[in-house]
């Protein structure tokens, strides 16, 4: 009984959330039509809505979406191929970990994306620059979470391995890696989200590539409904991306 009321109040709250957003949009529409908000600064929400199908067709959004997705995929491949082994290396060579782990943590807090002019000089205004920035922005959490997962492997598991006289390679593949995987996935999820944010951001900043560039172009053309519509589209896309990575991570994580 209480379960059903709980579920009912939960869905009621959700409905209130959605209704508030719709009401806010309607209010903005009214305020613009009434002249309280300048329509050359904020276009009508209805115009923005109408602009979305237009930009999807005219601006080749699917192709842009695929470009950005490709950049994210390359960056995630780099994150997995470089970040996880680096974490493993720091775990294996204990003195290196003691010396470097705080550096990696500091790197995670550093505004790496601000070095993008440096990447531009090295890799040119190209997809490589974008991928490399995405990778650089996301690699620190992958390393840190890989170390964390390996370090927190329960001792009883490694002891079982030792009592079966596993070779170091077997110990790694059969015990350490499976035990560390949940944490590694958390690291990959964080890294991917950082990579995605920075990739779209850099596309916007250097006016190159997929979805980020679309916003820059529309803004430079002063196509207001288009700009707002494209921003809504990119925000929705990143929400979907965020949701998918969360679900993927939960699905891959074994039951604890």
């Amino acid at each position: 009984m209480s379960g059903t009321t709980l579920a009912a109040s939960r869905s009621a709250a959700r409905v209130v959330g959605v209704v508030t957003v719709l009401a806010a949009v309607a209010l903005v529409e009214l305020a613009i039509r009434g002249g309280a908000i300048n329509r050359f600064i904020v276009p009508l929400p209805s115009e923005i809505l109408l602009a979305i199908p237009r930009i999807i067709v005219d601006e080749n959004v699917l192709h842009r979406f695929w470009q950005t997705t490709q950049e994210i995929l390359w960056a995630s491949l780099l994150l997995a191929v470089v970040g996880i082994p680096l974490g493993l290396l720091l775990y294996r060579v204990r003195i290196l970990r003691l010396a470097c782990e705080t550096w990696v943590a500091a790197l995670a807090a550093a505004p790496i994306v601000l070095t993008y002019p440096l990447f531009l000089v090295i890799f040119g205004r190209s997809a490589t620059t974008i991928v490399m920035i995405g990778f650089a922005a996301g690699v620190a959490p992958v390393i840190l979470k890989t170390i964390e997962g390996l370090v927190s492997t329960r001792k009883v598991l490694t002891d079982v391995g030792r009592s079966f006289r596993l070779s170091p390679a077997q110990q790694f593949w059969k015990i350490l890696l499976p035990a560390a995987l949940p944490s590694v996935f958390v690291g990959m999820k964080l890294g991917l989200i950082f990579a995605m944010i920075n990739i779209v951001g850099i596309e916007f900043l250097i006016n190159f590539g997929g979805l980020g560039q679309l916003i820059n172009e529309l803004a430079e053309r002063y196509d207001l409904p288009g700009t707002y519509g494209a921003i809504c589209f990119v925000v929705l896309t990143s929400i979907v991306f965020f949701d998918v990575t969360e679900r993927l991570e939960r699905w891959l994580r074994p039951i604890e």
């Binding site: 109040s9 939960r10 709250a13 959700r14 209130v16 959330g17 508030t20 957003v21 600064i41 904020v42 204990r94 003195i95 290196l96 003691l98 010396a99 470097c100 500091a106 807090a109 550093a110 505004p111 994306v113 601000l114 070095t115 993008y116 002019p117 440096l118 531009l120 000089v121 090295i122 989200i193 995605m196 944010i197 920075n198 779209v200 951001g201 916007f204 900043l205 980020g212 916003i215 820059n216 803004a219 207001l224 700009t227 707002y228 921003i231 990119v234 925000v235 990143s238 929400i239 965020f242 949701d243």
Partner: protein, 255 residues
């Protein structure tokens, strides 16, 4: 594993060795001519540029502008985020209705809102502050909300039984009790506020550190750009460390 204690001295030596290897590799790369000239300038050139930069009053003027923008952004975004977080954390209905919005909008690329911010707040410092606010609001709101939920119910009941007013509840119970998660939120917020503000400066401005960086890039003054990035990294990592120390200090009941 823990039995093998490694002395601090050996760690320090390892660090020194790593730094020495990296610097030597850098210098070798600079001398080799493998990359375009000046992409990897000699360390001497970078140190000279750093010296010139730190002796230049113009640099401090720009640093002051960027610092003021970030401070302002953190103040506005921090208070807004704190208020939103306390409301969401204190009320289950509000949390169910609106928290998903904050949670999902948090990890979106904020810089794409910059064209809109320019239209709303102009091309000057206003739009940069707005970018910082938009960036730092989300981590602070999310941390404050989760901090509120972690507060010991007993403390809240004590406050209520003393008939504390809403303001007293916030200032005497909520804020002191959620200090650790809140400080962590401010730390994260500062990080993204720095990024938001400076990226906006690199895109469109005529003042601030972001502007200096992009100016060094467009005049291909690489040593100066490295010097600026080094200063920026030292300042932001330092600020981050200071804030996390504030959160760690004197919280004996954190557990």
């Amino acid at each position: 594993m823990t039995g093998l204690a490694i002395s601090g001295w050996r760690i320090a030596m390892t660090r020194l060795a790593i730094v020495a290897i990296v610097l030597a590799a850098w210098e070798a790369l600079a001398a080799s001519g493998l990359l375009f000239r000046d992409v990897v300038p000699s360390l001497v050139a970078i140190v000279q540029a750093l010296w010139r930069l730190l002796g230049n009053p113009d640099f401090y003027a720009n640093l002051g502008i960027t610092g003021a923008e970030i401070g302002m952004a953190l103040l506005i975004g921090g208070f807004a985020g704190l208020a939103a977080g306390i409301l969401l954390g204190a009320n289950r209905f509000l949390s169910r209705a609106y928290e998903a919005l904050v949670y999902y909008l948090g990890p979106t690329p904020k810089i794409i809102f910059f064209p809109v911010m320019i239209m709303w707040f102009g091309v000057g410092t206003g739009s940069k502050i707005a970018m910082g606010v938009v960036s730092c609001f989300f981590p602070i709101a999310i941390s404050a909300a989760s901090g509120m939920r972690q507060i010991d119910r007993v403390l809240i009941r004590v406050g209520r039984s003393f008939r504390a007013s809403a303001w007293q509840m916030v200032s005497k119970i909520y804020l002191p009790a959620m200090r650790a998660p809140l400080v962590n939120g401010i730390r994260l917020g500062l990080g993204v506020a720095i990024i938001g503000t400076l990226l906006a400066e690199t895109k469109l401005s005529n003042r601030g550190i972001g502007y200096l960086i992009i100016q060094a890039y467009s005049t291909f003054d690489m040593p100066r750009m490295y010097a600026l990035l080094i200063v920026l990294f030292v300042l932001s990592i330092g600020a981050n460390a200071i804030i996390s120390r504030l959160g760690a200090a004197k919280s004996p009941r954190a557990a």
